[in-house]
């Protein structure tokens, strides 16, 4: 038999990324200075993002697709990788886990996310999801001499495995109903056979919602997030709060909007209470947190709730508002973590809210940047966070969900309290002790990029919005 080689062009970025991950893994054996490994990882990601420019079409018999939608998400992943590595270099040395595998795991995890964004078959999707998840499990426990980190990895792994089970259940029910795992074929089958309202299909959608909800940390599947976010290395917390979440939203968008397009009303009914609950749990529980990483974990749960509004609208404007939101969220959240990471130094954890007391006096620059990120996360103009929320709200109101938006804005006003509390600690209290800052060029670079992005997108969002809209043209 003759096996023709499949078209590798659409999958080229993933191939390159895997190659770089392997190179980094090998280099780690030879190179003593781990900073070099980091630089090569960044350079590799840059090359991969260039290769993204001329990939399009689908391959592997339609199991894999490179379109505007996946490209948009891959750009979020690349931003996530580069910023994470920038803030990691100094940090993992401080944590005394300066091993090269760290970078290669991050790259492997990103390959997983890229596959998820491009999966047009449920099996490919599962493959990507597991690759991403397994790498992040290891990364979460990377500080192996720290009990909390190990605990967080174990929790993440056990619960993650559980959610993978749900995903497989869901996939197998869908397969049983439709006889295919191809996302487009599922959609055709459902419309042709009139499966809308079929109970098994609803069960499958429910199962998939649980699995994806776990990845994006939506309530009530969010239980792992606070513990894992708190225990994991701070740089990895930043990585996890953006990458896997965006990848989760990418698959929700594709699977729900395409495969289950015929039963939009059904899954919207499932997602609406989840979205409300997510916003409620995230914002209300965050109010009482004293550990800043834990607080941002709940904040990240809350942000998943807002982004879900974009999916609930079930139209292209909503999806592009969700993409826009995640893009902005990547910058503002990693920016906030870049400040948090500076407070960690030899012998000082710097994770407690009280560590921020009087920061504006001891380190005015760091405090000012944190202020910008906190206001952006609240969604106050002229920061990017406002643009993200505005777009989502506009899409949702346009789709007739005004009441849902009213709930969302109320929760967003509640969230102001815990973000403001950080500002209050920094600006309105006097410093108790002079806290040293762990500064480095790369971390400064990450801060400069994120701050600039938050402010520029906040005032001139045109290009980003246009990009998010254009990305959906071939969807």
């Amino acid at each position: 038999m003759n096996f023709p080689l499949p078209d590798l062009n659409p999958v080229m970025p993933e191939i390159l990324m895997t190659a770089f991950a392997l190179i980094v893994l090998l280099l780690d054996l030879i190179v003593k200075k781990k900073e070099a490994v980091a630089v090569i990882s960044i350079a590799g990601t840059a090359i991969v993002s260039l290769s993204l420019l001329n990939t399009s079409g689908s391959t592997f018999g339609g199991m894999y697709i490179a379109d505007g939608y996946s490209t948009f998400f891959k750009i979020i992943f690349f931003i996530n990788v580069i910023l994470t590595i920038l803030i990691s270099i100094k940090y993992i040395a401080v944590e005394r886990v300066n091993y090269g595998e760290y970078y290669s795991l991050i790259l492997f995890s990103t390959v997983g996310m890229m596959i998820m964004a491009s999966a047009s078959d449920l099996i490919t999707l599962y493959l990507g999801l597991e690759l991403m998840a397994l790498s992040t499990y290891v990364l979460a426990g990377f500080i192996r001499h720290n009990l909390k980190s190990t605990e967080s990895a174990l929790k993440y792994f056990l619960l993650g495995a559980f959610s993978s089970g749900f995903l497989l259940y869901g996939i197998s029910i869908v397969y049983g109903l439709t006889g295919t795992t191809d996302i487009k074929a599922i959609a055709t089958f459902i419309t042709e056979r009139g499966l809308s309202g079929n109970l098994s299909l609803l069960l499958a959608i429910g199962m998939l919602t649980v699995a994806f909800g776990f990845k994006i940390a939506a309530a009530p599947f969010h239980m792992w997030a606070p513990d894992v976010y708190e225990g994991a290395p701070t740089s990895i917390t930043a990585f996890m709060s953006v990458g896997p979440k965006a990848a989760g939203f990418a698959v929700i968008g594709r699977v729900f909007m395409i495969a289950f397009a015929a039963v939009k009303a059904d899954w919207a009914t499932i997602l609406i209470p989840i979205s409300i609950l997510t916003m409620a749990v995230g914002n209300i529980v965050a109010l009482s947190q004293t550990n800043i990483k834990r607080m941002l974990a709940y904040s990240s749960i809350a942000h998943a709730g807002y982004a879900l509004l974009g999916i609930i609208t079930a139209n292209s404007e909503g999806i592009s508002s969700m993409m826009n939101y995640l893009f902005i969220y990547a910058f503002m959240n990693i920016g906030a973590f870049a400040v948090i990471i500076m407070l960690r130094s030899e012998g000082i954890k710097g994770e407690d809210l009280s560590d921020y007391e009087g920061l504006s006096k001891t380190h005015p620059m760091a405090a000012a940047l944190m202020l910008i990120f906190m206001f952006s996360l609240t969604g106050i103009p002229p920061t990017a966070g406002f643009i993200g929320k505005l777009y989502i709200f506009m899409a949702a109101i346009n789709a007739g969900y005004t009441w849902l938006v009213i709930i969302a804005v109320i929760f967003s006003a509640i969230s102001a309290y815990f973000y403001l509390r950080v500002v209050m600690y920094m600006y309105m209290r006097d410093p108790k002790t002079e806290l040293p800052l762990t500064t480095s060029f790369t971390n400064g670079l990450a801060l400069a990029v994120t701050t600039a992005a938050v402010l520029i997108i906040g005032v001139f969002p045109t290009m980003l919005v246009e990009f998010a809209r254009a990305a959906l043209k071939s969807f």
Partner: protein, 513 residues
């Protein structure tokens, strides 16, 4: 564009006025932390320059038209149809001037009072000024909301960082109250945007008619934002805390300009965009206004803290403003706008005055004062004038404003007018009693040897003194700004919308033919 007159000056005056303070803030930002005097001079220089830059708005303003003037319009975010759209009419132009004047006074009064984080303080003051002017000039709802919300950030810091002992509580309360109101307004804005064919242009929005039920919903969404800012009873509770705890400059900004933005919002958005709903809600709004007038005044009688007393008197005075606005007749609305200016001048001046004496004694308790008139005679005379203006004595500005409002109030609803009058009587009571306790009676031994106002402080109060008499004696130089704009606004409200106007005009044209 038939609703606007393009800028007839050969430079973008409104942008200049808005962004000069930002420029000053940037200069301060790059200035060295230890050069504190330079920081202060930059702040003072910028605020004076901004004021000078805003003077052509006063001199070159065309009073014969209701159309927007000094307009600037550029496409900004084309995919959402958002424009950078600025312009002023008779309703907003005076507030721009009030804001720029207020900035100078705030810098002057903080010169020695603020000793901590000087750089940040002046940056915050300048940014607040810039955003406030932006609010009054925006003709694009998105731009308006941007300025409206952005202003919260520096104001939050001003109260929370440089305020009194209970400042953190006050700052957070201020922020959360205003934010909840604002986000509800945001929902309203988006609904309007989608309904009016995806435009944020306020003037285009005004040419459309909205269904009655939608108007009622939108009215309350806007009410949430504007009533909190005014503040109307019963959402006024942030104000006493914020006013009391804020540093002097913060109180002045709050009193003179910031709380005017709420009343301005009613005039600029609620009335013309939602005329039917505004008319239908008049009884509710009048009731709330009257409650605010009387309630604020009665609470004042029981205050022991100088700043808190003036803060509650603001609730009462702003009740007059909303009463005038929702009287929906010429006298009422013009009186309301004038009273907004008056209140800005008088209450701003009162807070400046309290700041002057607080810097010397570090107490705000009325009981700690007494006999100040012998110790600080010049100061006492100034304070006397502002007290009388707050009461509304003829020949001061307070009289004109309150008189017009009561005229309008009586015409709209007899009982509202009658009850509002009792507010004036109680007002005279608490202000005079305050003056008596602070300035007359036995000299409090702690106050011996207080120095009277210095030149800087006198300069800070003098413009307010001039304005008190200027408006009081010849109000027409200010009222003439608003006549045509108010007339046009009321025509729109009372005719129930432009569409009907257009219909009438069409009919007339047919008859003529």
């Amino acid at each position: 564009m038939e609703q606007v007159i393009m800028n007839n000056l050969n430079y973008p005056i409104l942008s200049t006025v808005i962004f000069l303070p930002v420029l000053g803030a940037l200069l301060i930002l790059i200035n060295r932390r230890s050069w504190e005097t330079l920081t202060k001079w930059i702040a003072l220089g910028t605020s004076i320059l901004t004021f000078i830059a805003s003077i052509p708005l006063f001199t070159h303003f065309d009073k014969t038209t209701h159309k927007m003037q000094f307009v600037e319009r550029f496409s900004w975010i084309p995919n959402w149809n958002i424009y950078y759209f600025l312009g002023v009419d008779g309703i907003s132009v005076l507030f721009v001037l009030l804001s720029t004047l207020c900035a100078i006074l705030c810098v002057l009064i903080s010169w020695t009072a603020v000793t901590n984080k000087i750089k940040e303080f002046y940056i915050a003051i300048l940014l607040t000024t810039s955003f406030m002017i932006g609010v009054f000039c925006s003709l694009d709802f998105f731009l308006f909301y941007l300025f409206w919300e952005a202003m919260l950030i520096p104001m939050f810091l001003i109260i929370g960082v440089w305020g009194g002992p209970n400042r953190i509580y006050a700052a957070i309360k201020f922020f959360l109250y205003t934010l909840v109101g604002s986000v509800l307004m945001l929902v309203g804005i988006i609904v309007l945007y989608l309904y009016s064919g995806k435009t944020f242009d306020i003037l285009t929005m005004m040419t459309k008619n909205y269904p009655y039920t939608m108007q009622i919903w939108l009215f309350w969404a806007f009410f949430a934002a504007f009533a909190v800012k005014v503040p109307m009873w019963p959402v006024h509770t942030w104000l006493p805390d914020a006013h009391t705890e804020a540093p002097t400059a913060g109180s002045v900004i709050l009193a003179a300009v910031l709380i005017k933005m709420g009343a301005y919002g009613f005039l600029r958005f609620s009335l013309p965009l939602l005329p039917e709903a505004s008319k239908a809600m008049t009884p509710v709004m009048l009731t709330l206004s009257v409650i605010a007038i009387i309630y604020g005044a009665i609470i004042c009688l029981g205050q022991t803290d100088l700043k808190r007393l003036i803060a509650y008197s603001s609730v009462s005075h702003m009740g007059f403003v909303t009463l005038g606005i929702f009287a929906l007749n010429t006298q009422g609305v013009e009186g309301g706008i004038l009273q907004m200016l008056n209140h800005g001048v008088v209450t701003g001046a009162l807070f400046l005055s309290v700041g002057i004496v607080y810097e010397r004694t570090h107490t705000r308790l009325i009981a700690d004062y007494g006999g100040l008139a012998t110790e600080m005679p010049i100061y006492s005379s100034f304070f006397m004038v502002f007290t009388l203006a707050a009461i509304g004595l003829p020949a001061t500005n307070g009289f004109i404003g309150e008189f017009l409002i009561l005229l309008g109030g009586f015409a709209a609803n007899k009982w509202a007018g009658v009850l509002a009058c009792t507010g004036i009587i109680i007002g005279a009571g608490y202000m005079l009693w305050l003056y008596q306790r602070v300035f007359f009676m036995e000299v409090n031994p702690k106050l011996h040897g207080l120095v009277d106002m210095n030149v800087r402080e006198t300069i800070a109060l003098l413009p307010m003194l001039i304005l008190v008499f200027w408006i009081g004696v010849y109000p027409n130089s200010f009222l003439s700004f608003m006549h045509t704009s108010v007339q046009h606004l009321l025509e729109r409200v009372n005719s129930g919308g432009i569409a009907q106007e257009a219909q009438i005009a069409k009919n007339i044209m047919e008859v003529i033919r």
